[in-house]
């Protein structure tokens, strides 16, 4: 029977056909475009609209940017070189970079000092930010950094930051001695020890200070430019963290008076704009200080911005505390830990971890808000641009180059911080997904 069949079958394939390529429309870039850009008619219209928008933006921006003049003494010279063509006058940046970065009064022979402090800032925060990559001993430098940076930027006698440091060291030593007995004793003992050292230092430092200090003292009112934004941003964020934690704990407390003090403080600060607080720093705060005391404007501003930031950070941390399961508090209690121990060892490490994204958001927001000091006539980056530079006869009218530069600087810093926080969030993820 099989024979007959063999005649009717002309051809039997013995090997598999090689796989054919998928059709052109279903592979490579064409498929990707069909899926992602032109999947439907409205989508196609959207894509075309987006392309037009991008084209218009680039067609305006690129010639202006690529044709820019980087070397000219004034805007008129710029226009002469351009001769009616399109192009930015970036010469203002090469000409006035020192004012934009350091303000117009910081002595230009000393620019290396804030620059060095800025570079060391990265060395100091690297072991905190990437604690897995760097050896623990580098944290000592982080501890030293605030005093070093103060000395570098403000200059003057090296003994004042040294005694400030010694006060903290004394406080720490007392704390480690006493904390095993009682938290309160350690805490208040440390404060007393630090104050003793600072008072003693206050008497000794003037005697130790030579006529000619190694670094020329620069008064605070000479700080300006982006340096001022950086100083305000880092100092206020760093200071507001401990205050924020204290306020958050206070708001969670069962003691009604302490709770209400914290609630009123937080809600008051969060309810008013930063500008009004800066007005307070500028014109009102002096009325509340003992007669005859004069206070740096920069210090008054730091106090007010720190208060502002700590209220916001307190709310973020309160969210973290509230998000912890009740069981963690009960577990800490059942281990027999008292309140400070439970907070330090069990609650806060977890709550702070949850609050990191929020804290970073507050930090970025605060850093952006440091530009507001230009409203009370301090010459930060925006203040410098609007004040001395745009008002000068050479550069009157160079708006986009200057504002674009300021926007670029802030974008780099803020975007960097937010990317870091997302990375850290992934690092700290301990739950399994």
């Amino acid at each position: 029977m099989s024979d007959t069949h063999q005649h009717s079958i002309v051809f039997v394939r013995e090997t598999m056909l090689p796989e054919q390529d998928p059709p052109v429309t279903e592979r490579g870039i064409v498929k990707w475009m069909r899926q992602n850009l032109f999947s439907s008619i409205p989508n196609g219209i959207l894509t075309l609209a987006a392309l037009v928008a991008i084209y218009v933006l680039l067609a305006n921006f690129l010639p202006w940017f690529l044709n820019g003049i980087w070397d000219a003494p004034s805007i008129r010279a710029c226009r002469e070189i351009l001769d009616g063509g399109v192009g930015g006058c970036f010469a203002v940046l090469t000409e006035r970079w020192n004012q934009l970065l350091f303000g117009f009064q910081y002595p230009d022979t000393e620019y290396w000092r804030p620059t060095l402090a800025f570079v060391l800032l990265f060395v100091a925060i690297a072991p905190v930010m990437f604690y897995k990559l760097f050896p623990k001993p580098m944290l000592f430098f982080t501890g030293l950094y605030p005093f070093l940076a103060y000395w570098l930027i403000w200059g003057g006698s090296i003994w004042s930051p040294i005694f400030a440091l010694l006060g903290f060291v004394a406080g720490y030593v007392v704390w480690t001695r006493l904390v095993s007995k009682s938290f309160a004793a350690g805490f208040f003992g440390a404060i007393v020890a630090a104050f003793v050292v600072w008072t003693v230092g206050g008497y000794i430092v003037p005697a130790l200070t030579p006529e000619e200090t190694a670094l020329v003292a620069v008064p605070s009112r000479d700080m300006g430019g982006f340096m001022l934004n950086m100083i305000l941003g880092t100092v206020c964020v760093a200071l507001s963290l401990p205050f924020g934690i204290a306020l958050a704990l206070g708001r969670q407390s069962d003691m009604p008076i302490i709770k209400w003090i914290c609630v009123i403080f937080i809600e008051f600060i969060r309810g008013v704009p930063l500008i009004t607080l800066l007005f307070v720093a500028n014109v009102v705060l002096a009325y509340f200080l003992p007669p005859g005391t004069t206070f740096d404007l920069i210090l008054r501003v730091i106090i007010m911005i720190t208060m502002f930031a700590s209220a916001y950070i307190a709310e973020v941390i309160r969210g973290g505390l509230a998000a912890l399961p009740r069981g963690q508090y009960e577990a800490a209690d059942s281990l027999g830990l008292d309140y400070p121990q439970a907070m330090r060892l069990i609650i806060l490490p977890q709550a702070l971890k949850i609050s990191i994204p929020g804290i970073v958001n507050v930090a970025v927001g605060l850093f952006k808000d440091t530009t507001l000091v230009s409203v009370i006539s301090m010459f930060d980056l925006v203040g410098m641009i609007r004040g001395p530079i745009l008002a000068s006869t050479e550069w009157n009218g160079v708006y986009w180059e200057l504002l674009g530069f300021a926007a670029f600087l802030f974008f780099v810093v803020c975007y960097g911080i937010s990317q870091y926080s997302q990375w850290l969030e992934r690092q700290l993820q301990t739950d399994h997904r």
């Binding site: 989508n43 987006a50 008051f268 969060r270 008013v272 704009p273 007005f279 014109v283 009325y287 808000d369």
Partner: protein, 404 residues
């Protein structure tokens, strides 16, 4: 036989104030209260002494005095002979105006950008990501100044509109964008105009009732009435009919070039536009992120369940996703509104006369009443913030998931 007996009652000892947890909290609170009172007492005594030294006093009498300065954009009658109090009220209204405009615009921008960030169109998605990152990471003050610069330095001067071959021209012959502000047509009400407006307001109410009736009918009987076209018809037709019947009582007054400036129409100052758009675009980027997070918070299973019930994509969005997403979106949205209101105080940087510009700016500088002015200023913002937070709490309680 064992007998249970109460432990002997301890007598109160002074050391228990510190060592006994029952009493320790009283000690701490007492110390805190004393410290607080001492702190405020110290500040108060400094204040009294400083004021005495400077020969000043605390008084709000200055609010009744003539202000002696002009405000270029006012919603109510005001001139330089009006009192400082009236100037402050003008400022308050200007703050509320710019905050309202910016809130509405920011919501529109934010919702569009947030939805487009989830689009399956790669290019649009990336473009929106660039928008959000660019605006979230640059201070709003810089954006305000940038837009203000566009309004004052880039737009043509009114004299460019003159001549036979002008360098600039008006949009639709009705809108003039000049460096002295934007001129738009002004509605002019003749007799009967008010009636048309009333009819329009009534039809808005009518649309609301029609939709409610349609929903009720749907739930009760399952009968589905068309929503879109009838609503539109109810909204527009009656007003249109009345408008024609009453002989077109609402006219438009177009801005016209008179001399070296425009006359007629409504002049919106560049400072208002700068503040409005900068706040809207900046906050819009934040709202976009909130909207995106809200939509993503609704799990995919909800969409799939709705689809398997046979709902169309539009209904899935309206009936299943949005009600759940809104619960997540609205609280941060309201706090963004609060931020807009507070950030509108940056008006002082571009010379828009909001409350910070009048009471906290010129009035403060003219009268030197720093404490009083700043206190009033803070009080105003505090009242706004607290009332919005109170509303938010009411909303949160109403929307809270009712569990068991």
């Amino acid at each position: 036989m064992t007998t249970l007996s109460d432990p002997p009652r301890e007598s109160f000892q002074l050391s228990m104030l510190l060592n006994d947890t029952r009493y320790r909290s009283y000690t701490f609170q007492f110390i805190a209260l004393i410290a607080l009172i001492a702190f405020f007492g110290y500040l108060g005594s400094n204040l009294v002494q400083n004021l005495r030294d400077a020969g000043l006093n605390i008084s709000y009498g200055f609010l009744g005095e003539p202000s002696n300065y002009d405000i270029n954009q006012t919603l109510i009658e005001y001139d330089s002979r009006s009192s400082h109090w009236r100037a402050s009220v003008v400022g308050v209204l200007n703050t509320l105006l710019v905050a309202f405009l910016a809130c509405v615009t920011a919501t529109v921008i934010g919702v569009i950008a947030g939805v487009l960030r989830l689009s399956n169109n790669w290019l649009v998605r990336k473009l929106m990501a660039v928008y959000v990152e660019a605006f979230r990471n640059v201070p709003v003050l810089i954006w305000i100044i940038i837009i203000f610069t566009i309004m004052t330095a880039v737009l043509p001067a009114p004299r460019d509109f003159r001549g036979d071959d002008p360098a600039a021209s008006m949009l639709f012959d009705a809108f003039a964008f000049t460096n002295r502000g934007v001129y738009i047509p002004k509605p002019v009400f003749e007799t009967g105009g008010v009636a048309v407006v009333l009819v329009f307001l009534l039809s808005v109410v009518g649309v609301f009732y029609y939709r409610r009736y349609a929903t009720k009918l749907l739930y009760d009987t399952g009968k589905l009435l068309p929503m879109g076209w009838p609503s539109l018809a109810i909204l527009i037709l009656p007003s249109l009919v009345f408008y024609v019947l009453l002989g077109r009582p609402i006219g438009l007054e177009y801005p016209e070039l008179k001399g070296f400036n425009f006359g007629g129409g409504i002049n919106i100052r560049g400072s208002l536009i700068a503040l409005w758009f900068a706040l809207a675009i900046y906050t819009g980027a934040f709202i976009a992120e909130n909207v995106r997070a809200g939509i993503q918070s609704v799990s995919k299973g909800q969409t799939e369940a709705a689809a398997s019930l046979g709902l169309r994509p539009g209904r899935i969005m309206n009936l299943v996703i949005l009600p759940q997403a809104l619960r997540v979106i609205i609280p941060p949205l309201i706090s963004q509104y609060l931020n807009i209101t507070k950030n509108s105080s940056l008006a002082i940087a571009v010379g828009y006369m909001d409350i910070t510009g009048t009471l906290g700016g010129i009035t403060l500088n003219q009268t030197g009443r720093a404490i009083e002015a700043v206190l009033l200023l803070m009080l105003f913002y505090l009242v706004i913030s607290l009332s919005i937070s109170a509303l938010m709490n009411v909303y949160n309680n109403a929307m809270k998931l009712k569990e068991r």
